[in-house]
């Protein structure tokens, strides 16, 4: 559909949230928690924190929870029973996330739906609506424009709000799902503002070209650059745990021989045991190989196989890294190398 433009007054945001909640939507938004801003369920607009460049964690957990039950099992006298959660998950609106986080739905969906469709993910995706807010500020870690995004990018959003100079919002209704949300509060979405969107957006300079990088990377497989860049990597996996586009997971059982559940848990390709065979053999036995895998997977394999870049340039990995490995700098080094 073509994008429809409206105005959402700053005073009307709270009422919009109330109407969503009254419409049986759970609303998840950035909240202040000690010194961090992170996503959680809110009961009203007053819970929302918009004073941040980037949340510590992304909103990925709504679609792909850190720990997710795949099924429960219960042993019986003659056999066993496998119990799955019935019915769809509760409808959730993710409100106030950045456009980069909204764009991260594409790489997640690409992995979860290519070939074998992943029902747990698909069900959550169908029940999730995204109302993003454009970035009016950015920092030196942001690089969305280098991977195809922008501070006012509408991709992945059902509605994109952009704060205008007076504090009111330009509302861009991007999808049918977004339209259904607006219908819950049609009176709040008034005629489109005259003010331009562009001048209210943060500026993020494009530092490299993801397409050219993808073409270049296969030739870099045996490059010493991976060793040089990863010498100080601790293999802690923080980068993967804050990444909105990382999908790698583990499957583990919790319980005993009588009853329990099988879980899917986030994992990281940076961990030394990630690919360790039971024989002791490890195809990616040193950290430089694992660092190469991380970058290759996102910037070469996924563009090649799934036609999507596995990175949205949010910069969280670099902000979270305890030894200050800066993804943007490392990518520029390869792109210009």
């Amino acid at each position: 559909m073509t994008i429809e433009k409206r105005t959402l007054k700053k005073e009307a945001v709270g009422e919009f949230i109330n109407r969503l909640r009254a419409g049986q939507w759970q609303v998840v938004a950035p909240k202040k928690k000690d010194k961090q801003v992170t996503f959680g369920e809110i009961s009203g607009a007053e819970d929302i924190c918009q004073d941040y460049v980037q949340t510590t964690q992304s909103a990925k957990g709504v679609l792909f929870p850190r720990v997710e039950e795949l099924f429960r099992y219960q042993m019986q006298e003659n056999g066993a029973q496998i119990l799955e959660r019935e019915g769809p998950p509760q409808g959730t609106v993710i409100f106030g996330l950045r456009p980069c986080d909204a764009a991260a739905v594409a790489p997640l969906a690409a992995v979860f739906t290519w070939d074998y469709p992943d029902a747990p993910f698909k069900k959550r995706l169908a029940q999730t609506a995204i109302v993003a807010i454009s970035c009016h500020q950015a920092d030196e870690y942001c690089f969305c424009t280098s991977v195809g995004g922008s501070p006012g990018d509408t991709r992945g959003s059902d509605i994109l709000l952009t704060r205008l100079s007076g504090g009111d919002y330009l509302a861009e209704i991007v999808t049918e799902k977004g339209k259904r949300l607006v219908e819950l509060a049609a009176d709040l979405f008034t005629v489109a503002p005259k003010e331009e969107k562009e001048k209210n957006l943060a500026r993020v300079e494009k530092r490299f070209d993801a397409k050219k990088l993808a073409e270049k990377l296969p030739g870099f497989f045996d490059s010493p650059v991976w060793i040089e860049q990863s010498l100080r990597c601790l293999g802690c996996g923080a980068c993967a745990y804050v990444c909105p586009a990382c999908v790698c997971f583990d499957i583990q059982d919790e319980g005993n021989e009588k009853r329990g559940r099988r879980l899917r848990c986030w994992d990281s390709c940076g961990f030394s045991q990630f690919t360790l065979h039971t024989s002791g053999h490890n195809p990616r036995s040193v950290q430089s190989q694992r660092w190469r895998q991380r970058l290759m997977h996102k910037f070469s394999y996924q563009p090649d196989r799934l036609d999507v870049v596995g990175c949205v340039g949010c910069g969280r990995c670099s902000r979270a890294c305890p030894v200050d490995m800066n993804l943007l700098e490392h990518l520029i080094q390869i792109a210009e190398g």
């Binding site: 747990p120 698909k122 497989f221 999908v247 997971f249 499957i251 059982d253 329990g260 690919t275 065979h277």
Partner: protein
């Protein structure tokens, strides 16, 4: 005709949309066979008869076997698709899940999901000679293929099997090795590493690559299938090459660590290829172009 096919595909797709791909079939452990120290074969039957009847797979495919409460582990299906009504797996007790498996008794309930991965192109092998080369615990993934080909014996020309293990005790499927040795339409050569022989041992003594070189099988119209530890594969291919085998005619099956089996969990990839989706069966021609991540 095409419309029915389309309808069926649409129905299958709709089913797949709704079903949880991580939900395993419930299996009953029908029979346990001790193969070698720490190595067992399980025969598994589907609890649900309909699921059992509808289940099909092809040689080369694998599955995720689970002990509830302990987790899942990945093995190739070791029985032949020509033998229906059950599946078999052979494993060595090594880690947490295989230890839990080894502790199960006949009649126990376990989980299985699959079949996953690609298959050996046996339809393209009609009229050819087949040379199977296996080492140690890598005979199980090949046993599925061997029985598949033996059950369709008239489709192939000569069938030769070379199987080696570190010592006599570690040879798996001893009862089947005897059966193959007696068959006039199979040439079986068994070997154990030097020092691994017993006084009664009548087979060869030596590692697989030199024994293969001595056997010098003809490469014309022959497909070689090689399964074994990485070190064996590394030294076997140069011998095959010397014997005139082209990389396109040498097949193997890779075994990287897996969790999902369906191309999502992100750990079994070799470069941009997933062993679980693009493999586990690869030709040496394909492997030559892949980075050494296996």
């Amino acid at each position: 005709m095409s419309e029915t096919k389309e309808k069926r595909e649409a129905k299958d797709a709709a089913m797949a949309e709704e079903s949880n791909i991580y939900r395993p079939y419930l299996m009953r452990l029908e029979k346990i066979t001790d193969e070698a120290p720490g190595v067992k074969t399980f025969r598994l039957k589907f609890f649900d008869e309909d699921e059992g009847k509808n289940f099909t797979f092809k040689a080369g495919q694998f599955g995720e076997y689970s002990v509830f409460g302990e987790g899942e582990t990945t093995f190739c299906i070791a029985s032949s698709p020509t033998r229906t009504g059950y599946i078999e797996c052979t494993f060595r007790q090594m880690g947490r899940v295989t230890t839990a498996l080894a502790n199960l008794e006949e009649g126990s309930v376990m989980g299985f999901r699959g079949p996953y991965g690609n298959t050996f192109p046996i339809d393209e092998w009609r009229g050819k000679n087949l040379l199977f080369i296996a080492g140690g615990i890598a005979l199980p993934p090949m046993r599925c293929l061997i029985w598949n080909c033996l059950d369709l014996r008239d489709r192939f020309n000569d069938i030769t099997i070379l199987y080696g293990a570190t010592n006599v005790a570690n040879l798996v499927y001893k009862y089947e090795l005897e059966e193959w040795a007696k068959r006039p339409d199979v040439k079986l050569v068994t070997t154990v590493d030097p020092g691994g022989e017993t006084p009664e041992w009548k087979g060869q003594i030596g590692m697989v690559p030199p024994v293969l070189e001595k056997m010098a099988p003809a490469s014309a119209d022959t497909v070689a299938i090689v399964c074994g530890p990485p070190i064996m594969i590394k030294f076997t291919f140069p011998v095959l090459s010397k014997l005139g085998f082209t990389p396109e005619n040498v097949f193997t099956t890779l075994e990287n660590r897996m969790k999902c089996g369906v191309g999502k969990c992100g750990r079994c990839n070799v470069g941009k290829y997933f062993v679980c989706k693009d493999g586990p069966v690869f030709t040496f021609a394909q492997l030559k172009d892949l980075p050494p991540e296996y």
